[in-house]
C-alpha cells in the first residue's frame, strides 16, 4: 500500500487523487469495523491526540473524538472558551504547552483561515485541520465525496451543485477541490452576494437559478446560511432566501429525475431545506455523519502511520 503524500491534513489542495483513493479504501475497512459488535481496534494505543477547538462544533468534534477512541488513541479535548486563550496566550504557546505533555497529533478548528498551516510550520506534531475560518474543512469534503461514491458508485463524471452561502463556506472550497480531483463537474449556486468574485476561476460553473442548477445536477449539497459570519446584510430576508434558494419536496418533484440531497449540518430546517426533504430517502445527511467517523479514522490512521516511532 502506498502512503499519503502529506504529513498533515491541512487542506484538500495539498492532496492528490491517489491520496483520496487511499483514504477511501482505508475508510471502507473502518466502516466495516464500526459496524462490528465491538467497534474498536488497538492500532493507535501509543498515540495521543489533542482536539483543539477554538470555535464551536458539535458534529465534527464528536466525530473526531469517536474516531480517535475507536482507534484506541488517548484523547485530550480543549475548548477555547474554557482556556488560557482568554488570558492572552498565543496559539503557538498554547499548542507547545500541550505538546510538551507528549501529544503526537493535533486536530484543530480555528476561526482564522490558515491557522492550521501556520501551526504546522511551527510545531512538530502532525496537524489535522478541522476547519479554518472560511478556508478549508478537508475531512468534511472527504466524507461528502465518500458518501457520493457510496450512493452513486463513483464520483467521476457526476454533476454536483453546491447551493447557498459559498462566500463564508469552508465546506464549499474543500468540496470544490475534492470533487475536481476525482473528476466530478462542480457548480455553485446561490444569490450573487454570497458567491465570491472570481469563483469561476476555480473551474466551476456558476448559476443563480436554483431550479436550473437542480435540473443539471446528480447531487445537491445544501449549505447552511452562516449568519454568525455575516457582517452585513447579503439578502433582504430569510423568507426571501428560502423562496429563492430553499429546497422543498414540490421543487424536487418538479424535476424529471431523482437527485441526491446532502447537507453538512447543522440544518436550519425550513430555511435552506425543508423537513420533508431532509428526512426523505433522497437525503443522505445521516449517512454523511456515519461516514464521517470512518473517514476520520482513515485520515488519523494514515497520518499516524507516518509518525516515527
Amino acid at each position: 500500500m502506498s502512503e499519503l503524500s502529506v504529513n498533515h491534513l491541512l487542506g484538500i489542495k495539498d492532496l492528490n487523487s491517489q491520496d483520496i483513493q487511499l483514504i477511501f479504501e482505508t475508510a471502507d475497512h473502518f466502516k466495516e469495523v464500526i459496524n462490528r459488535p465491538i467497534k474498536k481496534v488497538p492500532s493507535l494505543r501509543d498515540i495521543t491526540i489533542a482536539n483543539l477547538f477554538f470555535e464551536n462544533s458539535t458534529r465534527t468534534k464528536l466525530s473526531f473524538e469517536l474516531a480517535e477512541k475507536r482507534l484506541s488513541a488517548d484523547v485530550i479535548n480543549f475548548s477555547a472558551s474554557q482556556s488560557s486563550v482568554k488570558k492572552g496566550e498565543t496559539l503557538i504557546d498554547t499548542v507547545n504547552n500541550i505538546l510538551s505533555m507528549k501529544v503526537d497529533m493535533v486536530v484543530m478548528r480555528h476561526p482564522n483561515p490558515g491557522a492550521s498551516v501556520f501551526l504546522s510550520q511551527h510545531v512538530s506534531a502532525s496537524i489535522i485541520n478541522a476547519g479554518d475560518g472560511a478556508h478549508e474543512h478537508p475531512t468534511q469534503a472527504l466524507l461528502d465525496s465518500y458518501s457520493i461514491r457510496e450512493r452513486l458508485g463513483k464520483v467521476q463524471g457526476k454533476n454536483v451543485v453546491i447551493v447557498g452561502d459559498i462566500l463564508h463556506s469552508r465546506v464549499a472550497l474543500s468540496n470544490i477541490f475534492a470533487l475536481q480531483l476525482q473528476g466530478a463537474n462542480v457548480m455553485v449556486c446561490g444569490p450573487k452576494t454570497l458567491l465570491p468574485k472570481y469563483i469561476d476561476k476555480l473551474g466551476v460553473k456558476v448559476e443563480t437559478n436554483l431550479k436550473k442548477a437542480l435540473q443539471w445536477c446528480d447531487v445537491a449539497n445544501m449549505l447552511r446560511v452562516q449568519n454568525e459570519r455575516m457582517d452585513m446584510t447579503y439578502f433582504p430576508s430569510t423568507r426571501e432566501y428560502t423562496q429563492q434558494y430553499g429546497v422543498n419536496k414540490a421543487l424536487l418533484n418538479s424535476l424529471d429525475k431523482e437527485i441526491t440531497i446532502m447537507h453538512p449540518g447543522p440544518i436550519n430546517r425550513g430555511v435552506e431545506i425543508t423537513s420533508d426533504v431532509a428526512d426523505s430517502k433522497q437525503a443522505i445527511i445521516l449517512d454523511q455523519v456515519q461516514n464521517g467517523v470512518a473517514i476520520r479514522m482513515a485520515v488519523i490512521y494514515l497520518l499516524a502511520s507516518k509518525i516515527k516511532h
Partner: protein, 179 residues
Amino acid sequence: MSQKLLLNAKEINIILHRLACQLIEKHDDFSNTVLIGIQPRGKFLANRLAQILKSEYHIKHIQLGLLDITFFRDDFRRGEKPLEANTTEINFLVEDKNIVFIDDVLYTGRSIRAALTAIQSFGRPNEIELLTLIDRRFSRHLPIQPDYRGRQVDAINKEKVKVNWLEHGGEDAVYLVNS
C-alpha cells in the same frame, strides 16, 4: 536468490485431504464450527479446505469467514512500509462457536496473537483452534502452536517460506526461498 521446492501440487493435495479429514474427525458435521481464514494469505487455504469438505466429504453446512488483522497487529509504525488492510467478511455470529483459524504459514505467532484479539470484536467463541499448512519450527516468538499442521519445516530466519496457489500465482507449490 535461490529457492528449493518443499511441496509440489500432488503433495499439497494429499495434505489438504488429510487436514480436511482431521477436521471432520474433531468437528463432525460442522454444525457448531466456523472456519476463519486469516487475511491475506490464509484466504486461499481456507477456501480450498472448505471446497474439499463440501464437494468430497459432503459436509453441507460450512461457515467460512475471513478475518483481517491489520489494525490489531503489534508492529504499527515499526516497519518501513505502512500496513495494508484487507477485507473482513464474517457474516455470522461467533458467540459460543468453535473456531478454526486457518493460515498458510505459522512463523513467529504474532499474526495469530493479533487474530485472537481481533476475533473478540465478533463475540466470545467457545474455543479456537489453529490450522496451518506450514509450521516453521523453532521460530516462535510467542507460546502459540498449531492444532492441525500440514508440514513442519526447519528454516533459518533469513529464509522465507513461500506458498503459491493455483488461484493466485498459477501453481500449487511451497518453496523455501533463500534471499
